[in-house]
């Protein structure tokens, strides 16, 4: 007996049935926005950035980072066509720069997403506290509200409630509409009665000294975190080769316009010389105050829902990363055990326990949640993502330089020129940011946080390299499949003893 040769399947009833279940550009675009949470960035990150860093070049920084990401995306998309892996960064880095680098990147990615997720509790607490005080006349400390949100996220995370689809579409659309309304209101009433375009000038990047470009880029880069999740949905789209890049470019362009406009409007409305002080005194209110009281009320409510949606999205990203690494057996196997909801329970709970510990520490320490938790952890997570983007760009170059066949057919722009430019730019940004981390955190140089937080990625990388060495020595079969993701299982098929094929 023999089997039939494969041929492209056309007009297949099965393929058509599966195609009906697949998604197009718009759902993918909404999925990307689910982790970006527009109001979280504009009302939370941008206002905190103005207040903490004292830098006013934030609007143009969003545009500058968009250009850098536009250089990053071609290589990233090209590589995602060759490698299907939900743990994209670490898988790409494994395949391009070697397995030890891949394990190091995996731990750095897990740390970065964890920073991002846990940091959100520092904003949720105060936002919920303000809402409860204003609407319900309830008074409780920020950490109590943060714990309540933590409990909700824990339950929803275990129940595998992804805020996707229609609910997210409605929330995201509402957030964007509110931001647009605030921007229009803010630009319509600029400080001093006239609009100054200087915050959009490239020279604004250097208002705090050109060394602080890295700081501005980290802040702006934080706003784009989530854009990289497109390849996760590649298998679920009708035409991944077209849909994923289109949705990704659309997301980056949309984010650039939205965040640039929002940060510029805040600067214009408050006045360039007052925006830092106003941000320090008003916090997210700097954005809400641009429109009238009714709009502010809606914006404040949506700010809270945006924070919760982002916290849940990052929580789910963390367990997905854990699951992928556990399936490759880089992390312990129990982290990939799923229950009836399809959630790896241990991985989800591990992330929840991390959040609980941090909330408890900050509550006991009496530190400021918005600046010391939300902004510090958020920007540190953003720094981690930028490090991974730089490493991924290098991996793209190496991956395509070593390949032939399908890899060689990718255009030179995607496999060499663009990733080289983005690698150089991103590396420079990371170096500058680390060198000026005290400015980013708004603390005096030499304070422990200014070196501990960025150093955590170095520690994660070192741990990853060491663990890779252990795996190579003690579990070579596991080491051999690092970076292959779920496809590791098919890559290890060998003929059975006895001549079966």
């Amino acid at each position: 007996m023999h089997s039939s040769p494969a041929a492209p399947a056309r007009h297949s009833a099965v393929s058509q049935a599966l195609a009906r279940d697949r998604v197009g550009v718009l759902p993918v675009w909404f999925f990307l926005l689910s982790g970006i949470a527009p109001l979280t960035v504009t009302a939370g990150v941008v206002t905190s950035a103005y207040a903490t860093t004292g830098l006013t070049g934030i609007p143009v920084a969003f545009l500058a980072v968009a250009v850098v990401l536009a250089l990053f995306i071609p290589g990233y998309m090209a590589m995602s066509r060759c490698i299907v892996n939900a743990g994209a960064f670490s898988a790409f880095i494994s395949r391009g720069l070697g397995r030890p680098a891949g394990v190091a990147a995996a731990l750095m990615a897990l740390l970065a997403y964890s920073f991002l997720q846990v940091g959100l509790y520092g904003a949720i607490g105060p936002a919920a506290e303000a809402e409860a005080q204003a609407r319900l006349h309830l008074s409780a400390p920020w950490w109590a509200w943060a714990l309540a949100a933590w409990a909700v996220i824990t339950v929803l995370g275990l129940a595998r409630v992804d805020v996707t689809g229609r609910v997210l579409g409605i929330l995201t659309t509402a957030e964007i509409a509110v931001i647009a309304a605030e921007v229009i209101a803010g630009l319509a009433r600029p400080a001093g009665g006239h609009l100054s375009w200087s915050p959009l000038a490239p020279g604004s990047l250097g208002t705090g000294g050109w060394g602080t470009i890295g700081v501005l880029a980290v802040v702006a880069g934080l706003g784009y975190v989530g854009f990289e999740a497109g390849p996760v949905l590649a298998e679920e789209t009708r035409n991944p080769r077209r849909t994923i890049p289109a949705a990704t470019y659309l997301a980056v362009a949309g984010i650039a316009v939205l965040y640039t406009a929002a940060s510029f409007a805040m600067s214009a409305h408050a006045g360039l010389s007052h925006v830092v002080a106003d941000a320090a005194s008003q916090g997210p209110g700097l954005m809400f105050a641009m429109g009238g009281p009714a709009l502010a009320g809606i914006a404040q409510f949506l700010f809270l829902t945006s924070l919760l949606a982002a916290a849940l999205a990052f929580h789910n990203s963390c367990w997905r990363y854990c699951f992928s690494l556990s399936r490759e057996r880089v992390l312990p196997a129990f982290l990939s055990r799923t229950g009836s909801r399809g959630v790896p329970t241990a991985a989800s709970l591990a992330q929840s326990l991390t959040g609980l510990a941090v909330i408890a520490i900050y509550a006991a320490g009496g530190w400021q949640p918005m600046s010391d938790l939300f902004f510090a952890f958020g920007t540190t997570g953003g720094l981690g993502i930028l490090i991974l983007l730089a490493l991924t760009s290098l991996a793209v170059i190496r991956f395509f330089s070593a390949g032939d066949g399908a890899r060689a057919r990718e255009p030179g722009w995607a496999r060499l020129i663009a990733p080289a430019l983005s690698a150089v730019t991103l590396t420079a940004i990371v170096i500058l940011a680390v060198a000026h981390y005290a400015t980013l955190l708004g603390v005096a140089p030499g304070r422990p946080a200014a070196w501990l937080l960025p150093a955590s990625f170095a520690a994660a990388a070192a741990a990853g390299l060491a663990w890779a060495a252990v795996l190579r020595l003690c579990r070579p079969n596991v080491y051999a499949t690092i970076g292959l993701g779920a496809a590791a299982v098919t890559s290890q098929l060998t003929p059975a003893p006895g001549g079966h094929s």
Partner: protein
């Protein structure tokens, strides 16, 4: 291996026959292992369990007395005699669910990927296999209708469900003879994420899963690998 699943199915329907031995059909065993032995609640998400059961249905076709399909290089391909005639024309399963699956495979003009088949068949596999088990007497639907849907099927006897789990676990016990059926069942149990069910057994397994499945023919090992690949992607998917 190579069993006539039509006979196995008819045998299971025989009144008075002990059902501790199971139906001999891989997907049936997986269904019993994948659902709670008393409440009938699935141990996994429907998507992940569906992928596993779809793998079981394909495994049945691949391990029949006269195999009609094979998984090769990621594709599910019908098998042909030397004269070009499809094997399926002369070796149809006597059991309706397997017959429908084979008809679907044969109706495709070109082979489709194993992943596509697992997703497509997985959408209805749980219901199809539950229906088959209901006919065999292994599961039953509780009396009383709910407002919007029929009550889910529940195993009739928890011991029959437990015996299915015992047969899968037997492949991992060093002191037990390793049969192709048990190895295949254990491989599919682990691949679709039901490996935690083995945690109820005392002590560490004496035989690693890789060792148990290594002796299987490559097409079956590839099927198990594809089930794990597709199941993992289902877990990571943002859709339920």
């Amino acid at each position: 291996m190579g069993y006539n699943y039509g006979d196995a199915h008819r045998s299971a329907l025989r009144p008075g026959k002990s059902r501790l031995a199971g139906t001999g059909l891989v997907a049936d065993e997986l269904w019993l292992i994948g659902h709670h032995e008393v409440t009938g609640r699935p141990h996994l998400s429907l998507r992940a369990l569906g992928v596993g059961l779809a793998g079981g249905l394909l495994a049945e076709l691949m391990t029949a007395q006269v195999p009609a399909v094979i998984v090769h290089n990621g594709y599910v391909r019908p098998l042909y005699h030397r004269n070009g005639e499809p094997v399926a024309r002369f070796a149809r399963p006597g059991e309706p669910v397997a017959g429908r699956v084979l008809d679907l495979i044969m109706s495709e003009r070109a082979p489709l990927s194993a992943r596509d088949w697992l997703l497509f068949l997985g959408a209805t596999a749980a219901a199809d296999v539950a229906g088959r088990l209901e006919l065999s007497g292994y599961v039953a639907r509780p009396s009383g209708r709910r407002l919007w849907r029929d009550p889910p099927p529940v195993p009739v006897d928890r011991n029959w469900s437990h015996c299915a789990l015992l047969r899968a676990h037997a492949a991992l016990e060093a002191g037990r003879e390793l049969t192709q059926y048990n190895a295949l069942l254990a491989g599919l149990v682990l691949a679709c994420g039901l490996g935690f069910r083995f945690a109820d057994f005392p002590g560490a397994p004496g035989r690693a899963a890789e060792e148990a499945t290594r002796a299987l023919p490559r097409p079956l090992r590839e099927l198990i690998a594809q089930v794990q690949l597709t199941g993992d992607q289902a877990v990571l998917s943002t859709r339920k």
